[in-house]
């Protein structure tokens, strides 16, 4: 099936009647502003579509990943307190809306698979995630171009195909249309609903690959032997221990549960946390097993490239390049992988 670009708006408008539809938007496209005029950030993200929204499907990657739709930065869980009679109560807060993420890239689609592993496998389902996940449909668009920071194909992904998405749109070489393939039941339902706007034909699709290549061969095995390697000390020096990399990462999924108490009632919520923050690993009684930046930096990369794979069989880095672009001190995961590959293992043993 073929979807002409000019019909996109019709599809989105139709879908928005049934569900909350999120599309990639750059601020310039919508209010012509940018900092200095509106105070809006110079960044792109998935925003709720409504007629009038101007999606930007040519963005290689949004600054913020779409994980917020499944795993919000702040998610209210329940309220509790005493009612007027003095009895305790607890009210669980549920989300009930259907959500479509339209226009995500292969990397982001893969990131949802990673989060599914975390929240929905190994015998424990996270109710709050599950609710949202069940009501989510994803529409991936293959990349027509890549950014200098993209390296997904080195991480085992294909920029042109996102098998985990419910629908895959592949841009035609003419630049005017997408080839539409439903990849799941949800996807079939979605595509069916688009039927009025689709053409029953096909086209040649663009194929791109990343310019930035990383050698991930044997990385996990090598890292397993490098926990005590002195290289971490050096690699972590420049890190500021801010949470930028973890917050722009589509797969980082750590959260903290906290509450806001008033006198007679309160609210429990969970919010993103970052392994870069000192409070992240701080325990009651103030002991902190990762008190300085070295163990925190090591934890982040070991988790991405080694521990996650141990547990779920896939690496937690999807090669989207967001952290590479946004790190204020250019602590670049691809360079770090190079350094790891170049490291001398005998040093790790010495220390160990």
């Amino acid at each position: 099936m073929l979807l002409k670009k000019e019909r996109l708006n019709d599809i989105l408008t139709d879908m928005a009647k049934q569900a909350r539809v999120y599309v990639p938007v750059s601020p310039d496209a919508n209010d012509g502003g940018g900092v200095g005029k509106s105070g809006k950030a110079k960044m792109t993200r998935f925003e709720l579509y409504s007629p009038g929204t101007a999606p930007n499907f040519d963005l290689v990657n949004t600054t913020m990943p779409p994980k917020d739709m499944l795993f919000p930065q702040t998610q209210k869980m329940y309220r509790y307190g005493f009612d007027t009679e003095g009895n305790a109560y607890i009210d669980i807060i549920h989300d009930s809306d259907e959500v479509v993420i339209f226009g995500m890239r292969s990397c982001d689609a893969r990131s949802i698979e990673c989060m599914d592993d975390v929240f929905l496998s190994m015998g424990y389902d996270d109710e709050f995630y599950k609710q949202r996940r069940e009501k989510l449909a994803t529409v991936a668009i293959g990349c027509a171009s890549v950014a200098e920071t993209c390296f997904c194909d080195s991480m085992g992904l294909d920029p042109n195909a996102a098998p985990g998405a419910d629908v895959q749109l592949s841009p035609g070489v003419d630049g005017q249309s997408y080839v539409v393939v439903a990849q799941s039941e949800k996807g079939q339902a979605l595509v069916a609903s688009w039927q009025p706007y689709l053409e029953d034909s096909t086209a040649e699709t663009t194929q791109v690959s990343c310019a930035l290549k990383v050698n991930g061969d044997g990385l996990k095995d090598k890292l397993e032997q490098m926990f005590d390697h002195p290289i971490w000390e050096q690699l972590s020096k420049k890190c500021l221990t801010c949470g930028t990399c973890t917050y722009v990462c589509p797969t980082c999924h750590c959260f903290d549960i906290s509450q806001e108490n008033k006198m007679k009632d309160g609210e429990r919520f969970r919010c993103w946390d970052s392994c870069m923050f000192s409070a992240y690993s701080e325990m009651a009684g103030n002991h902190n097993p990762r008190p300085t930046k070295m163990p925190r930096v090591r934890q982040r990369f070991m988790h991405k490239l080694c521990f996650f794979e141990d547990r779920y069989g896939k690496t937690l880095c999807v090669g989207c390049g967001r952290c590479v672009e946004k790190c204020p001190v250019a602590l670049d995961i691809t360079m770090l992988i190079d350094d790891i590959q170049a490291a001398d293992l005998s040093k790790a043993e010495e220390v160990a």
């Binding site: 307190g81 109560y89 607890i90 009210d91 669980i92 807060i93 989300d95 549960i257």
Partner: protein
């Protein structure tokens, strides 16, 4: 969904005239005794104000002010001894600098100036206390409720499920 707590109910039902909540920080030595004197003289002023006693206006951390606004008061008043009269010599001078700069910052980022005010009121100025409180209440009543994040309030109430009033399994401590 049903759970709306009593305080919200109170806030949302009495709609005829909006009654602002005003928090007044008062230093123990001057303004608090000025407020006491207003009572002693049986002066009357609006009940919208709650006085929070601190030892000195220098104890008032600007962070309290923003917290109070965030948590739901509609206006904050900070009062202390007149410059030069501080029981602790200099507390109100420090307060003056901090609060002056902080107040400008709040206004810069869009707060109505009436919502955060500072006044020097001595222990003998019961009348000034009454007048100040009255005028702050009137000014803020005119402005209406402080809605620092209109989007937030709407979002919270969108989806609360009361059908499941039990502790979640394996609930955190």
């Amino acid at each position: 969904m049903s759970v709306v707590n009593d305080t919200q109910a109170a806030a949302s039902t009495g709609t005829e005239t909006f009654e602002p909540k005003i928090l007044a920080f008062a230093c123990h030595w001057c303004t608090y005794s000025g407020a006491d004197l207003a009572g002693l003289n049986r002066m009357s002023y609006p009940a919208n104000v709650r006085v929070l006693r601190v030892p000195c206006s220098g104890r008032v951390n600007p962070q309290y002010i923003l917290t109070a606004l965030n948590k739901g008061v509609d206006g904050v008043l900070v009062c202390g001894c007149h410059p030069g009269d501080c029981h602790y010599v200099s507390g109100n001078y420090y307060a003056k600098r901090r609060l002056m700069a902080f107040r400008r910052m709040l206004q810069y980022t869009g707060l109505e100036p009436e919502r955060f005010q500072v006044r020097w009121i001595s222990g003998s100025e019961a009348g000034k206390f009454r007048d100040t409180v009255t005028s702050v209440v009137e000014q803020v009543r005119e402005l209406g409720p402080y809605k620092p994040d209109p989007a937030l309030a709407a979002l919270i109430d969108s989806s609360v499920d009361a059908s499941n009033p039990v502790l979640p399994e394996g609930g955190e401590a």
